[in-house]
Symmetry: C2
Subunit: 332 residues, 2 copies
């Protein structure tokens, strides 16, 4: 879907967190990340060569990826100038911003003039089918969370890497705009029309070799009232053989919903398995991925050890420890 | 949303079943149904006065409602002529067809020329919010099914009528195109973008008097892999105080999915309550609605009696018996 390699546009990022898309590409697909372009005042740095648009094109860059969020919701004059230059120099532009590239007349005109593509990865590019629920060859693993934003994408990317390191056939399947920008393809599930949600996931994870794993990025949570329907469509479209439970232990309530407490991991296990076994009776939970960024090293180790004793499942923080133990559960 | 009263357009319906939208309006909102317009060969009859477009307008009809399905997926020349006449005579046109009125250049031109509206109820007309999950005043009841198309809309409409007959404040809340055409408003949930599904249901069922019931039309089934995400969004957006389980006892597999058996009513009760209690801990199942059209009178009575003993819940067929027993559970 996206042509590689990329020039990562960091704009005038107010802090490193704003550039999490660029960071994701840098971490997970470094071979795509040719260089970075930063404007005055940029507070993010991917430790990549700084490049102008012209330098990047000269070195082979095919797509400028907007690697930074613009919270204000407006594509600024300063950005537009650089983006027009990129189109003129021969690059496509890819973006996961809420405000779409295609809604900027200057960019639309420049893209047409120079024969380049504007790729808004939030907008579905495909007419997805309605799900038919039929079993298909190959194996699938899905990350499900006690809440939104607890590390499901990170977990899936880390697991995909760990499987590849073991020479197990594996594909990361992106279901959100960050994942799509990182890997260059996927389904922007939260923007798909209701009737086609599960079908879009069947489309994303088609029949494959019997020993191939699709590692599917999770979205939302069965326990998050705003987005639970998206999560269930993902479970029923993905027909997972394996689930990984994802959790952030310092979260005090569901993201954005002060009225809602998080479920326990036991509740998540029970509910997610019940729903998954409707489409795949042999589905099992193979481990727990904990984002322990809010704990110090010792607290994290104790938390994971206690949890492992309690749940009798491998419990890891893939950021601190990698995902090889989870990969072992899939490849054994 | 739709102006009443209606002229019901039955077209050249090949059989009575094809006119189920018209039948629904005739059954549930007879005060909206001024007359019917039938073309040569029409095999459906609502036992309403046959009217031409001009006669209907003279008697006050405001909207021509397409009350019949066109399986071929094309709006035929014969239809277009009548629909153009209706616009010229001063009526709006409302439709739940897959092929949209707005995609017919002749109708678009005629509507513009005569200052009339083309209302495709399958297309969301509103920018829905993301659900915030906040509790709100008033009571809500939702119909959930073991499968799609087991009588959830009929059950909700019958319950709404039965509550009104008891002088209980009640509103039927439509979530599909047939329900929207019958009652003139609602949310076409299966066409809403994933992120906004639950929010559209919060919008549809806002805070109300403490003794008011929203009776929410169900969609899909938690156990139907193609549409389960829609169902869960409905449960989490609707925050139901009460659930009614809907079932069709002669169904041999999930609709359209020969690989999938139906869940038991016990499984549905357990799963739907678990999911509903995430947003409304006091939610309870108040009864079962069975579509016994496939059973004779005696079989139906025996089935309902056995089921009632098994589940210890009121079990009724609202088509045969009305929904007063269910209404009694809500108003007691």
């Amino acid at each position: 879907m996206l042509k590689t390699p990329y020039l990562l546009f960091l704009g005038d990022a107010p802090d490193p967190l704003a550039a999490k898309v660029a960071q994701g590409i840098r971490d997970w697909r470094p071979e795509y990340a040719l260089g970075q372009l930063r404007l005055a005042g940029c507070q993010a740095d991917m430790k990549l060569p700084d490049m102008s648009v012209e330098q990047a094109v000269a070195q082979g860059a095919k797509t400028l990826v907007i690697g930074v969020a613009n919270r204000g919701g407006v594509i600024s004059e300063k950005w537009l100038e650089v983006l027009e230059q990129a189109l003129a120099a021969g690059m496509d532009i890819a973006s996961g911003l809420h405000n779409l590239l295609r809604d900027e007349p200057r960019l639309v005109a420049a893209a047409e003039r120079h024969g380049r593509q504007l790729i808004d990865v939030r907008v579905p590019q495909v007419k997805y089918p309605i799900a038919d629920g039929k079993p298909r060859a190959g194996k699938r693993c899905l990350a499900v969370g006690t809440d939104c934003s607890v590390g499901k994408m990170y977990t899936a990317l880390a697991l995909d890497s760990a499987l590849k390191a073991r020479d197990v056939k594996s594909s990361f399947r992106a279901t959100g705009q960050t994942g799509i920008l990182i890997t260059g393809e996927g389904v922007p599930l939260d923007a798909v029309v209701a009737d086609f949600m599960a079908g879009s996931i069947e489309w994303l994870t088609p029949a494959n070799d019997e020993d191939h794993w699709d590692i599917i990025e999770g979205q939302g949570s069965l326990f998050h009232p705003s987005f639970s329907g998206v999560t269930l469509a993902l479970i029923h479209g993905g027909q997972p053989d394996a689930l990984i439970l994802c959790h952030e232990p310092t979260r005090t309530h569901m993201r954005g919903l002060p009225e809602y407490a998080l479920p326990s991991l036991e509740q998540l296990r029970e509910t997610a398995l019940t729903m998954a076994r409707i489409v795949n009776p042999s589905c099992r939970v193979i481990g727990v991925s904990v984002n322990t960024a809010g704990l110090d090293e010792q607290e994290a180790e104790r938390y994971l050890a206690d949890l492992e004793a309690r749940l009798e499942l491998p419990c890891v923080d893939p950021f601190r420890q990698g995902a090889d133990r989870l990969a072992g559960e899939l490849s054994s």
